[in-house]
Every structure is written in structure tokens, then in C-alpha cells.
């Protein structure tokens, strides 16, 4: 910020005056997004009509929409969706709970990074698809197993983000805290964590979307319920391709919803900084 700025120029108790962006005639963002969806739907419909795909290969958008509404209304999707959401929620708590302390440790200690990083990267490089059956074997086919898979997939991005965040703490602020005799715990709580928060939230954005993928993959590998199971049912025994698409739509919306939740939390926690 301009240091020459006179104090009187600063709005009292408010936000520093910001120059408005050069006004150009522009459509609002939400209208553009809506337009994009419309174009996609029309292209989809044209493809179905022109190529003449049967419904069991590629159902038309209005067929999927109708099936989506019906499947939610008659309670076909709901129990499966609830199971998946529960798995993700438990997985988030476990995964984030483990990633934050480890990330902070890796960020603070070069030694810890040198010793632990190889295992850590090797674990991430192993495809979750290959590990999921093993986890199902150990933890069974219930909630715990699916939550474990979610936790594993979101563990890496959140840990790395925390590590980078903790490292990005301004050493000048650390010296400031030292001059006022901050204990290590106080420094972590009042300096390191707030400074790392934007990076951690960035990792969490990636993490929650991966957690959705993890839950579905886990359910595929062996589960009794969840949206992954419903996909298998829809294309298998039920042979209901519109329901398959309706389930995919549900999964996509779930991912978007979780992502927006993190963005919202980020706005609350991080707020405005420069």
C-alpha cells in the first residue's frame, strides 16, 4: 500500500478506497456459466438425435433430467448418496486430522522431510485403485473402509499444502513473535497456522474433490451401498442407463457442493489480506 497516503484519505473504520474496474459492457458471470451449460445440453441433444444413439447407450439430456428428478423423488438415490456423503465426511475428519500435524512437522523439520518424504511420495504414486481392494480386505466393506480410502486420497494434497504453508511463514513475523516471548505452542497457534491457512485451504479444495473420487473407487472395489454401488447396479442388474447418468450427475453435484463449502469456509477464515 502507498506509504505516502495521508491518514485522512483512509476511510474511517472501513475499507481503503478501491478504484473501480474500467467499466466495459460485460455479461455477469453467472449468465455466462448458464450459457455454457445451455450450449453443452444442446450439443448433447444434437448428438443423440443426429447419431441416433439408443437410450441405453446415450440417453438424451431431458431423459436424464427426468430420471434424476424421479430417482430423487422416489428415494432411489437418496440412501446411496447419504452413505457416500457419510463416508466422505468421516474420511475428511480422519484425513485432515492426520495431514495437518504431519504437514506442520514436515514444514518445520528438514530432517523429518528427508526421512519421511520417500514413503510419503511412494504411497501417493501407488494408484488408489490398486490399494482399494486391500483396504476393503483389511477393514471390510463398510463405512470404515470407504472412509479410509477417502482419507488416504486427500491426505497427500492436504499434507503438502500444510507443509508449504508452514514454510511460507514470514521469518520477520517469527522474529517479532520471539521478541515478545512466544512459546512454541503460541507461535504455532498465533503465527504459523494463520499464515499457513490460505495454502491449507488450497490443499483442501483439491482434497475434497479427490475424496469424492476416493469414495466412488472404494465402493467399486467392494461395498454394500453408496453411489459407486448404484452405478454398478444401474449399468448391471438394473440396466438403467438414464439412472447411471443421474447418479453421475449426483456425484458431480456432490463434488461441486463440497468444493463450494471449502471456498466458503476459506472466505470466512482467511478473509481479506494483502
Amino acid at each position: 500500500m502507498n506509504t505516502a497516503m495521508d491518514e485522512r484519505e483512509v476511510a474511517v473504520g472501513g475499507v481503503a478506497p478501491r478504484r473501480p474496474l474500467p467499466s466495459r459492457r460485460r455479461l455477469p458471470g453467472w449468465l455466462l456459466a448458464l450459457g455454457g451449460v445451455a450450449v453443452l445440453l444442446v450439443a448433447w441433444k444434437v448428438l443423440v438425435v443426429v447419431a441416433g444413439y439408443p437410450t441405453f447407450v446415450l440417453p438424451a439430456p431431458e431423459v436424464v433430467a427426468a430420471r434424476f428428478v424421479r430417482a430423487w423423488a422416489d428415494g432411489t438415490i437418496e440412501p446411496y448418496a447419504a452413505a457416500t456423503i457419510e463416508e466422505i465426511a468421516v474420511g475428511l475428519v480422519i484425513g485432515v486430522g492426520a495431514a495437518l500435524p504431519l504437514g506442520a512437522l514436515l514444514g518445520r523439520s528438514r530432517l523429518a522431510e528427508q526421512v519421511l518424504a520417500p514413503y510419503f511420495v511412494a504411497a501417493q504414486a501407488t494408484p488408489i485403485l490398486a490399494v482399494a481392494p486391500l483396504i476393503a480386505l483389511w477393514f471390510g466393506t463398510g463405512l470404515l473402509s470407504m472412509a479410509a480410502i477417502c482419507a488416504v486420497v486427500l491426505f497427500f494434497p492436504v499434507t503438502v499444502a500444510t507443509m508449504i504453508g508452514v514454510r511460507s511463514v514470514d521469518p520477520r513475523l517469527v522474529e517479532m513473535a520471539a521478541v515478545f516471548r512466544a512459546t512454541p505452542r503460541q507461535r504455532l497457534l498465533w503465527v504459523d497456522v494463520p499464515a499457513a491457512l490460505p495454502a491449507i485451504m488450497g490443499g483442501l479444495r483439491v482434497g475434497v474433490t479427490l475424496a469424492v473420487v476416493g469414495a466412488i473407487v472404494g465402493e467399486w472395489a467392494g461395498a454394500n451401498t453408496g453411489l459407486g454401488v448404484l452405478i454398478n447396479l444401474a449399468r448391471g442388474s438394473l440396466f438403467d442407463t438414464p439412472l447411471l447418468f443421474a447418479t453421475l450427475l449426483t456425484i458431480a453435484l456432490l463434488g461441486i457442493g463440497l468444493y463450494l463449502l471449502v471456498v466458503l469456509a476459506e472466505r470466512r477464515l482467511v478473509g481479506t489480506r494483502t
Binding site: M5, D6, V15, V179, W190, R273, T274
Partner: protein
């Protein structure tokens, strides 16, 4: 007496920083300070002036207990300094406010770290904000304030635990010329209302003359005290006093000692010092 400072035979060495190829010359040390001895009386204002890289910032950090001396001792009010000390308030070159916290929380930060109860914190912060004329900005974030206001908040924070000694490390250097002059006046106003001893590092000769009772001149590295110049202008001070014959005489003395040092100082020293202190 509380507020007095005694620095005796102080010495500090640093390991030589890595050269441009990344290789460290084994066993090489840089002597930042050598045999520094001086005393500051309670409520005195002392300016430390010296060429770039003479260890002024190092000296201030040793007094604050942020660094440990290799030789010699620092006593505050007759008791030795062994680590970051509650009797010292420190103002850095930059405000160093927590960007995510309000001005209120920033000023109250030392009180929170000292586990003072909420009620006491609130009352003390209100007092401090009034002292530095920032009462209307308790809820503002640092980035919403001007540079001068941010530095005043940093002074309020340094005074939070009622230190007997206030150390300022080039507190004016991040401010523009007009703000600097007003800031100097404000600092003296704060000094008059609080019973603190002030040691400040500065590059500016007029500032040293305007603010200080005494000016300590440090030599180029390794820094030691080469002159102790009394200013002798009456208080309360006004900026115009710097331009009186008495003020000019003091400025001339400072300039003389600085020029002396410059002749013996080499560009190599400056480069090394710049690297060494580039983080603070």
C-alpha cells in the same frame, strides 16, 4: 535503576555467509561487533549511528536478547539480559504486524502471549491506541492503514507490556519524508508520556540530532563505539532546532565521524553485511 542499560565489552561473530557458488569457507567468521562498551541512563534517548554494515542492528538485537553475545554482557537496570526480555519493547524496521489480525489484536499481541486476562487486555489496548492516536482504527486491518499509522501501531505493540526500554531499529526508514518528520515528533511525544529509555538506530543525521540526548558513533565492521556525542539541545524539541548553530555543530561532528569511517570501510564489507542482514 530500572531503564538503565549497561553494555560491557560486547562482541559478536557470525559464520561467514555462503559465497555465490554456494560453498562456505570453513571456519571463517565475520566479526560484527568488537569490544562495544557504553551506558545509557534511565529515560535517556540515545541514537546509534554508523556506516552501513557496522552491526547496529546486531547491537540492538543483543540488547533485546534476540541474539546471544560471544563476548561481554548486557545489563538492564543492573540485571543481565539472557533472552528475549519483558523489560524491552522492540520496534522493527518494518511494522511487522500480523496481516490477518485487526489493529486491536496486533497491539494486544504481547498481552495475549503473556496470558493476560481478556478484560485487562481490552483496557490496555484501548489505552495504547489512544497513546498513538489510532483509537478509531481498532478494527482495521494493517493493509488498510498508511505506512506511518502501521509503524505507530508497532510502537503501541512494543509498549504493551510497559517495558522500561524501547529499542527501535531504523523505524523511519520505511516512511516517506513528510511522515518521517511527523513520526519523530510523535515518538518524542510518546517518550514524554511513558517512562522509557530509548535506543534507536538511524541512518539520518538530522533525526539523530532531533531525537537524541547522545549519539553513539559506531565504526565500520567490526563495529565499536568511536565517539559518544552529546546533543545538548533543550527539550521539548522542535524540528527547527536541528537547524540552529548548536544543532548544526552536532550534525557536523556526526558527519565528521561518518566520513572517517567511510575511508576505512571497503565495498566488500558492505556486500557481506547486506547479505547477512537481508533477512532483517
Amino acid at each position: 535503576m530500572s531503564g538503565s542499560i549497561r553494555v560491557a565489552r560486547l562482541g559478536k561473530r557470525f559464520r561467514a555467509p555462503a559465497d555465490s557458488t554456494g560453498a562456505v569457507t570453513a571456519g571463517t567468521t565475520l566479526r560484527a561487533l568488537d569490544d562495544v562498551t557504553f551506558e545509557v541512563g534511565a529515560r535517556e534517548v540515545v541514537a546509534v549511528v554508523g556506516p552501513n554494515g557496522c552491526g547496529k542492528s546486531t547491537l540492538l538485537r543483543l540488547i533485546a536478547g534476540l541474539l546471544t553475545p560471544d563476548e561481554g554482557t548486557v545489563d538492564l537496570g543492573g540485571r543481565p539480559v539472557t533472552g528475549p526480555d519483558p523489560r524491552v519493547g522492540f520496534v522493527f524496521q518494518e511494522p511487522r504486524l500480523l496481516p490477518w489480525a485487526s489493529i486491536r489484536d496486533n497491539v494486544g499481541f504481547p498481552l495475549r502471549l503473556a496470558d493476560r486476562p481478556e478484560v485487562e487486555r481490552q483496557a490496555r489496548v484501548a489505552q495504547l491506541l489512544a497513546l498513538v492516536d489510532l483509537s478509531g482504527f481498532a478494527n482495521a486491518r494493517p493493509h488498510q492503514l498508511s505506512g506511518g499509522m502501521r509503524q505507530r501501531a508497532a510502537i503501541a505493540r512494543a509498549l504493551a507490556l510497559e517495558p522500561s526500554v524501547l529499542l527501535l531499529d531504523e523505524p523511519f526508514s520505511s516512511l516517506d519524508a513528510l511522515t518521517r518528520e511527523r513520526f519523530g515528533l510523535e515518538l518524542l511525544g510518546i517518550w514524554e508520556r511513558t517512562a522509557t529509555t530509548i535506543v534507536l538506530v538511524t541512518h539520518s543525521i538530522p533525526e539523530a540530532v532531533f531525537l537524541a540526548d547522545r549519539v553513539l558513533m559506531l565504526s565500520p565492521r567490526p563495529g565499536h563505539v568511536v565517539a559518544d556525542i552529546p546533543v545538548g539541545l533543550p527539550r521539548p524539541r522542535a524540528p527547527e532546532q536541528v537547524d540552529t548553530p548548536a544543532g548544526n555543530a552536532v550534525a557536523l561532528q556526526i558527519r565528521h565521524w561518518l566520513a572517517d569511517g567511510a575511508e576505512t570501510s571497503a565495498a566488500v564489507h558492505l556486500e557481506a553485511e547486506r547479505r547477512e542482514h537481508s533477512d532483517g
